[in-house]
């Protein structure tokens, strides 16, 4: 098939674009998303959560490109989290260091080991935490992103449309209305100033588009899959949505659009309700202990 905008061969069928037109289409989509949801203003000090994968490298590169073009005095810092998963994270952290030095972006690193005195591997071995490790890992990760983004105007994450669709479906399957209310392209502002507002510039980009963009831009991303991911609920939801998308193209964007028109409507104008802090660590918490301190205490018990 030919590109819809020139005579070159298409690299993608839907929409049909060649390499250079796809790159332009993708970047325009991301910049439009940033503007439409007022995700980043030109003077913002932005913290970008990075893992070294295709999503975070692409979003980091594009946020910097956006701010550089605006010349409004804004700046970008990359924040990486080391979970402590042997053989999984080290390679991506190395890729990340190289990428940030090439792009002249400051990279900060926080680890579960230093911040919580444990690693994800230890957590999996101990089997003291009920259920899959992904829940506890997510709690730790959120805590560290919160700690690392203090003092910034925005926290950018590389969540793409597939991530969001998976979250919406998981919340429906489990009737998690509270969690569903917290998702969306931009999280609510916290009146107590306990959280930095989180934004997702890749919100309307499918995972396939992001991988294609990263590949065409030559971002070095080694294929890695978290060793625990295959057992997660998310992985099974992801596979069934992809099967459905292959049969009915456009399903993912319909789900996201449905969410934005209903429960996600004006989510960024809503206010986050958390106003108390953990008595052990001072981080935001519902009750007297935050999620991370609860897990650390369970591990010690």
């Amino acid at each position: 098939m030919r590109c819809g905008a020139c005579t070159n061969n298409a690299v993608l069928l839907n929409p049909a674009y060649c390499k250079s037109h796809f790159v332009k289409y993708f970047e325009d989509k991301v910049f439009d998303t940033i503007k439409r949801f007022r995700m980043i203003t030109p003077s913002d000090r932005v913290c970008v959560a990075v893992s070294g994968g295709k999503d975070s490298l692409s979003v980091l590169y594009l946020v910097k490109k956006f701010l550089d073009a605006k010349k409004g005095g804004g700046s970008v810092v990359a924040l990486a989290i080391n979970e402590g998963i042997e053989g999984y994270r080290q390679k991506t952290l190395d890729d990340l260091k190289l990428f940030c030095s090439q792009q002249k972006i400051e990279l900060r690193l926080l680890s579960y080991k230093e911040e919580f005195g444990t690693t994800l591997d230890y957590l999996v071995q101990q089997k003291k935490i009920a259920g899959k490790p992904c829940g506890a890992c997510g709690t730790f990760r959120r805590s560290l992103l919160n700690r690392g983004s203090k003092g910034f105007d925005k926290l950018v994450t590389g969540h793409n449309m597939d991530d969001e669709v998976q979250a919406i479906m998981m919340n429906i399957f489990r009737h998690h209305l509270e969690l569903a209310l917290r998702s969306g392209p931009k999280t609510p502002q916290n009146p107590a100033g306990l959280f930095v507002q989180r934004v997702k510039p890749l919100y309307f980009c499918s995972e396939k588009e992001v991988r294609l963009y990263a590949h065409l831009q030559g971002f070095l991303t080694t294929f890695t899959e978290c060793p625990n991911a295959a057992v997660s609920f998310r992985a099974s939801v992801r596979d069934f949505i992809n099967e459905y998308e292959a049969k009915c193209p456009g399903t993912k964007s319909m789900i996201v659009q449905w969410f934005l028109d209903t429960i996600g409507k004006d989510s960024s104008k809503k206010r986050s309700v958390i106003s108390s802090v953990c008595l052990a660590c001072g981080e935001p918490a519902v009750g007297t202990r935050c999620g991370s301190c609860t897990i650390v205490e369970q591990l010690r018990a």
Partner: protein, 77 residues
């Protein structure tokens, strides 16, 4: 030998690497990229097709000696 819809004029032998399985194979194949993915049970939503170093769309056809890579779109975060 897998032969899809239309017959090929000559025998097509190509090398196919599947990133997610980290495995290569040499196979005889006649058909489009979409048919190749179907045959290998790879969801087009989860992969990117690369032929001789260039990304191609799923309607691409192959020739003898092609080097095909099926890159995984999914990564661990």
């Amino acid at each position: 030998m897998y032969v899809a819809r239309h017959a090929c004029e000559s025998v097509i032998v190509m090398k196919v690497f599947i990133e997610r399985e980290n495995a290569s194979r040499v196979m005889k194949f006649c058909g489009s990229g979409a048919e190749l993915l179907l045959f290998l049970k790879q969801n087009p939503e989860s992969v990117i097709l690369v032929k001789n170093g260039e990304v191609v769309a799923e309607d691409e056809l192959f020739s003898d000696g092609d080097n095909v890579k099926i890159l995984s779109v999914v990564s661990g975060g």
